[in-house]
Subunit: 677 residues, 2 copies
């Protein structure tokens, strides 16, 4: 099949070598080739062809199709893993690699809306590893890995309880006579709700419940509860389980509900690495689970990777489509132009590419920082000196702001594709669904911002006394006003930092003001909610921009960027910084009232210059992200640019178009016409 | 069934009488009662009960269910109309009332994602009325009204052509020998794409095509083309027709594609009110279709009503849910609070209510202005003195900004409901789908802004010479700087006006600057795209805020607001103005650099004061919008607040939960477990 001529022209004219960029983006030629080999293997496999677009299926059909597909996928993936590494050792790192694979290209290509067994390999097995004793791991982990009678899920959130974990109502009462726990969801609102795979797929659940022994409450503990019969899959006595229904996105997940009514499990099915209940009911608290805290942080770190993946999928689709789509003339005597030639369109798309790439730089750093903190935690000699609070605060506000900006970005990209972007076959709806889900799961947006803000206000107060501050917040001590210099990005970052510092200061002052009136400290915090969240958002923007610039510098210093990549990356990061500055200009101008109109015009002009500089490499850039057509899953975004052909092909495949006359004509329309309204 | 206790408490404590508000909101007790009677009639009818939530159905099932439901609906609606008004006269106004009914409460309640026959009663019949000769109307209109063998649609947009109408490729060649037009979609990109009901439902289409007679091109004309056999519904020879597939929203519409290959229609099926082709092929241009232009404007005016409806549906759901949902403690020794008690939650929801109500005030004014302009146009004595350009520019930028803000608002409200907002049973996905579709259809966002901006720049240039300006742009002449006075809303509106004026000025200057370099005037406009769109957006915000305040004043002067309604409306409009000011603060501070930190803090404090003032009446207010539970279609938003019960009920109804063990266990999961991964 031929490639669209406009796309060909773009590729021929680019100064960036997209293969060169792809190698760097993938982390080297080896990793790039490895991924491509894996992708070829799966995408060529007729077992994974799709005869009907999932958006045409009923919810039940979709579930069944996803299960069929995921069992085939897991078997073939395991086969591939064995070929590469015959002695596959189960470990946290292996599970992490697996998680990355599932949310990476292959996982996305085959399961655009995820799949029910994913949580088995992520939360379920991870929790066994981090909270189970050696015996418990021996009992469950190997079987879980081989899916030998164990299909797991992780049940924490309840119908009436989410962010405030202490409020969970599900309870586990220890019965010393039988040495069993009795699990109950005593109210409607205590039904477990949301766990992936719980609906119709999992037969074992790790259930978070309030532990009670002889009437005493010992806080939340995790329990391994079999919920369906291993052989028949029938729900066990006392178990009320099902799927919670369709959602805005991620409809392959089989999210479920779970009611437990006097369900008994043996004592050894409470996960006891960190706390134990002895046979007689004695409760023993073990080491405070710092690493557990680390796991929550870990998930937020990985979400940054997930959402930048989605954002760049969207950017790739929109960029290619905007070259193929011609609309409106610029000059009256010439034909309609590619819409990417309209500066308004460039301004919608290119900043999203810049954002995705900059997030990637920050995300790489964040991973390294995460590993460092974990090492600190494992180093028992200096438990008090660790950066976990800093990492925690960062992971909170970066996750919150990145999921917000990325989902907004995906939606903006969708809209940039006009009506066609609205079609499910364009796949923006699915990409948006996953991105915006991340806004809420694993820490709700506002809740995370408030957590980060608490840290920031604390650090700000400390900064008035202390000299050495954690690096990410050291700017809170810097009270110098903005000195507008020659370095534009430095000006922007500094202005964002000043805004963040002032927002933190304002939040602190507002809190103090409310405290000095009659309300409690807690109510004062509540009344300062808007200032606190604004402070955390401002901090995230200041951090993202500064860190992206620093990572770019570090890469350049290391010398492993080709001149062209270095140039384009520089343009992208600069665009990201300026775009952030302009988008935050309300906050920026409020706290930097020395910025003049001339300076602002200069920033705006530079923004437009960067659009013009990046425009010729836009297609080469998105080609360099190396998303396979299957990963994009979009009629608008394919590599060959055959947009209109694919839109028609996809429409013709729709089951509703398989008969020339739908039965409802005879059943309803004709009778109505005969009855004559 | 009992009502949730928290909701009951809210209602008991409110100072606003929601029935009182409902009467005002509906336009008087008579209209309110009339609507309620109609609603009761339909909602009590078992023919319109819903056994399965539409989000669980396949696309084809959903289509069939929607057709069945819409034929029943139309028959019963006609019956009701006959009872009220036995001598129903077909007219433009009647079609408008019908359109309002379809997009109002009853239409929404029964067709959350619209339905295929809607375009028959709107675009199809309206076009016959406005462009058909009397004979053509005699031939088609009566049959259309009675759906007597005529199910119509309106086919304009093509796969490759949207906003730039002149670029349409479909052609109609007149053949004087047979006195027929020959219609063709000569390329893939010229296939008609999007018309509602076209997929499987309509049998007649009004097709927009380029008219050619003897090789001469006479521009776009409208043709009535039969596409399916009246009796068998089979597509006619040369007609390639089908459904374009699932979308982000509005999945009941049956949007279709249409290819025409040498399809011949008689000469009298070109709509000839405004232009004729005589039998010998002579082309006669009639009166320029000013009213046609008016119709485009009309649709944009009505869209403002549509999106504020959706925004307030969302606000009602979020408000009630936020009272029922308890999460996180404010004080540690007290239970978890209603999330509406968190100021961050109030800041997400209350400004949306304020926006919806303020849009309503502006929309009422816009309707009156529209009617006035139509009267001007029909008054042939002074054709040159009319406000159509002003109305057109206003309708462009208000439609663009309102659809953007409203869809953003719906999404924000959805997120304010946390995970549950993500469920299809909450109905935000459907409401969002319709709202965001309006961002693109009937004039794409950026295209409309550019059109409005062209008018604004023109007016600005005129303002340098002229004294009398159209009222909506008269502020463009006012170069006085901001004088911050005691009246806070006046300060905010004035600051927004100054920003708009400066943005217009900047756009004009940028355009001139580019023109003075070597590019063409058109390219200069393209390069000024960002400044032009910003100017139109700023104008819309300035207009919305000023007009909402003016309408409130007018209502108060007329004296038909009860003191309580007047008070609450005042708080809402003030909140809307301040919220707009704060959200636009980047633009505002840029162009009003005299605004001090103290003044800003004052605005922010007032914002929070208004949240606190409105908080106790939040539930009474949304009750006053009087959305029936069926209109909201949401497990989270029902009047009785039984949120968790409804979530569970809806989940249990899902077909995937009807069997304890899904077939995929035996077909896929069990074999996989036996094969042991």
């Amino acid at each position: 099949m031929s490639v669209n001529a406009d796309l060909q022209r773009e590729r021929a004219a680019a100064t960036l070598d997209s293969e060169d960029f792809a190698r760097w983006w993938a982390g080297g030629s080896l990793l790039l080739e490895e991924r491509r080999t894996l992708e070829r293997r799966f995408y060529a496999d007729p077992d994974f062809a799709e005869s009907v677009h999932p958006s045409c299926l009923s919810y039940k059909e979709r579930y069944e199709q996803t299960v069929a597909r995921s069992t085939r996928f897991l078997a073939k993936l395991r086969q591939w893993q064995r070929e590469r590494q015959p002695q596959l050792q189960l470990s946290v790192n292996m599970l992490r690699d697996f998680r990355m694979l599932l949310s990476g290209s292959v996982g996305t290509a085959l399961f655009q809306q995820s799949f029910p067994l994913r949580v088995h390999f992520t939360m379920f097995m991870t929790t066994l590893l981090s909270q189970g004793t050696e015996e418990q791991q021996a009992q469950w982990l190997n079987r879980a890995w081989h899916m030998d009678g164990v299909l797991g899920t992780y049940a924490q959130t309840e119908l009436g309880h989410g962010s405030f974990i202490r409020g969970l109502e599900t309870r586990a009462d220890y019965d010393p006579l039988t040495q069993e726990f009795i699990l109950n969801t005593p109210t409607q609102s205590s039904y477990k709700w949301w766990p992936g795979g719980l609906g119709n797929t999992a037969n074992v659940a790790i259930v978070l419940a309030q532990l009670y022994v002889k009437g005493n409450h010992y806080g939340l503990q995790s329990f391994v509860v079999r919920i369906r019969d291993e052989r028949t899959h029938e729900p066990l006595t006392g178990v009320d389980v099902g799927d919670i229904g369709p959602r805005l996105g991620g409809n392959g997940v089989n999210n479920g509900f779970l009611g437990l009514h006097d369900v008994r499990i043996p004592r050894n099915q409470m996960l006891m690495k960190n706390a134990q209940v002895l046979t007689d009911g004695t409760f023993v608290q073990g080491r405070p689970p710092l690493l557990l805290y680390g796991t929550m942080v870990y998930v937020r770190v990985i979400i940054l990777k997930d959402v930048l993946f989605g954002l760049l999928q969207g950017a790739t689709i929109a960029t290619r489509y905007s070259v193929v789509r011609r609309q409106s003339r610029i000059n009256n005597d010439e034909p309609e132009v590619s819409i990417l030639d309209h500066i308004t369109q460039q301004a919608k798309i290119l900043p999203q590419i810049a954002r995705g790439v900059s997030y990637r730089l920050v995300s790489d750093w964040l991973w390294r920082f995460y590993d460092e903190v974990i090492r600190q935690l494992e180093d028992e000699s200096t438990p008090e000196r660790n950066s976990l609070p800093e990492l925690h605060a960062l992971s909170c506000c970066l996750k919150a702001v990145a999921t917000d900006e990325a989902s907004e970005g995906v939606d903006r990209l969708r809209k940039s594709c006009g009506g066609h972007g609205f079609l499910s076959s364009a796949n923006f709806d699915s990409i948006y669904g996953l991105a915006t889900a991340a806004y809420t799961y694993e820490g709700e947006y506002t809740v995370l911002l408030l957590q980060a803000a608490r840290y920031l206000v604390g650090q700000y107060v400390d900064s008035l006394k202390r000299k050495v501050m954690p690096s990410s917040v050291s700017y809170l001590r810097d009270t110098a006003r903005l000195a507008w210099g020659k370095n534009l990005t430095a000006n922007c970052v500094r202005a964002l930092q000043i805004s963040a510092m002032e927002q933190v200061r304002q939040a602190w002052q507002t809190q103090k003001m409310h405290q000095s009136s009659k309300v409690s400290a807690e109510m004062a915090s509540n009344l300062t909610g808007r200032q606190l969240t604004s402070a955390a958002i401002a901090h995230a923007h200041a951090f993202f921009t500064r860190n992206a610039l620093e990572q770019l510098e570090a890469l350049r210093r290391k010398g492993d960027l080709s001149p062209n990549i270095s140039l384009v990356l520089g343009q992208l990061v600069e665009l990201f910084v300026i775009d952030t500055f302009l988008r935050q200009s309300g906050c920026v101008l409020r706290w930097n009232n020395g910025i003049t109109g001339t300076q602002l015009r200069f920033v705006e002009r530079r923004f437009e210059e960067l659009l013009a500089k990046l425009r010729p490499n836009a297609v080469a850039l998105v080609d360099g992200f190396d998303f396979h057509d299957r990963v994009l899953g979009s009629t608008l975004g394919c590599h060959d640019g055959r947009v209109y052909e694919r839109l028609m092909e996809e429409a013709r495949r729709n089951p509703v178009n398989q008969e020339p006359v739908n039965s409802s004509f005879h059943n309803h329309l004709l009778p109505m016409m005969r009855g004559k309204l």
